[in-house]
């Protein structure tokens, strides 16, 4: 426990975060490119066309990972919110607010690709189905978090207020995930993330997983880049930033 807390505080220290994230970025970028290229090639070229949907099913390689990311990023933010409120670790606040726009972007992509897909499948761009509604809610909650953060002038209060809002919005996540189970929806049920193994052909599954990993790497990279900028801006007065800038 003690060493856990130590690790925790180490990551919580801005200079350490700045240094380590700087070292990690090139590696992450490399991995990202590899998984992305494999996922796209395998998904768009290698995988066979669906016997029902033809080629239009290939939008799955963007839709599903993007939808997962929208939820995953929110969970990361919620965790950061808890860390920030309970242990008052500054980095958590930076992670939270740097993640929000990325999460919003993924939620938006899931919505757009979903409705593009919905037109041929269901004959409509949009219905007030529980999964669709809750996903739209997710996008609005992201926007609300961003707006609240920019509206509170005091930086300390801004971080804590957005953390509370983030935690309030968490109730929406299980609703998104279980909406297909709880309600009789148009949207199809869980096929990949099932306890009894995925109900999907392996030629389709591998590219999908690869794309999912690529999206996660993309998130980590962008989040770190924006967090680094934010940290520098916040700590302009501190010694390590001055040394950093002076040393260049």
């Amino acid at each position: 426990m003690n060493s856990f807390m130590k690790w925790f505080h180490k990551w919580g220290s801005p200079p350490w975060f700045y240094r380590v994230s700087g070292k990690m970025l090139p590696w992450l970028t490399g991995l990202f490119v590899i998984t992305l290229v494999y996922g796209l090639y395998a998904g768009l070229v290698l995988a066979p066309a669906d016997y029902q949907q033809g080629d239009s099913f290939r939008i799955i390689y963007v839709h599903v990972p993007a939808a997962w990311m929208g939820m995953f990023i929110y969970m990361v933010m919620a965790a950061a919110a808890v860390v920030h409120l309970v242990w008052r670790i500054k980095i958590a606040d930076v992670v939270l607010i740097s993640s929000a726009p990325i999460g919003a972007a993924f939620a938006f992509i899931a919505l757009v690709t979903g409705s593009l897909w919905g037109k041929p499948m269901w004959g409509t761009w949009w219905t007030w189905d529980a999964r669709l509604t809750s996903e739209l809610l997710l996008l609005f909650i992201y926007l609300g978090i961003i707006a609240l953060h920019s509206a509170v002038e005091d930086r300390q209060s801004a971080g804590r207020a957005t953390a509370v809002l983030t935690l309030v919005g968490v109730v929406n996540i299980p609703i998104i995930h279980y909406s297909v189970v709880w309600w009789d929806t148009l949207h199809q049920g869980t096929t990949v993330m099932r306890l009894d193994g995925p109900a999907i052909a392996p030629q389709m599954l591998w590219p999908l997983l690869s794309m999912a990993i690529a999206f996660k790497l993309y998130y980590v990279i962008v989040m770190m880049l924006s967090a680094r900028g934010e940290i520098l801006a916040r700590e302009t007065k501190s010694r390590w930033v001055r040394e950093l800038v002076g040393g260049e």
Binding site: S157, V164, L165
Partner: protein, 224 residues
Amino acid sequence: MSVWQAFIELLKRDLRLAMRRRAEIANPLLFFVMVIVLFPLGVGAEPNLLERMSAGVVWVAALLAALLTLDSIFRSDFEDGTLEQLLLSAQPLSVMVLAKVVAHWLVTGLPLLLVAPLLAMLLGMKSAAMGTLMLSLLLGTPVLSLIGAIGVALTVGLRRAGVILSLLVLPLYVPVLIFGAAAVDAAASGLPVAGQLYILAAFLAMALSLAPVAAASALRISLS
């Protein structure tokens, strides 16, 4: 002084204030009636058209009435320093918040509930749907007050909140609106409504247990 007594005292105070408050332009009941009466005037009074809109109109009016009065939960207390005193009181803040939310509901939600059947009749709603309308409002309007309290608590200290309160609160209101109106529509068409009502009840249970705590911590942040 026990927590319960403090709860009651604060509730009584808020109700008394609501009675005395001046220029309540956003008087929820009046607003509710106004929307529902102005509608036929603007749209033209075709009975068939009106009947098909009735559930939606009543629910939208209820939602707007709640939204427009949200600010009153904490704003005036913030401006005259009472909120500071609540924060510094020896009683748990979330209980105090709950008292204020209950007061808000009693002032904005309950009266709507009482006049809703009348107005729905005016719009030509089928009497078969009346019971469901009442029940859906009974379950739904407290959720509006509870969720709203979190939004107001988060934004009460802002100097340029602008439209943020609505932005925060509306998305969370939309599901209540959709399921509420859907229940009434289903009842009017003779379909089962238990599903929608259970969902509304679940919303209420969740809001009741989480909102006061969330609003209390939001208030602490907003005031610092």
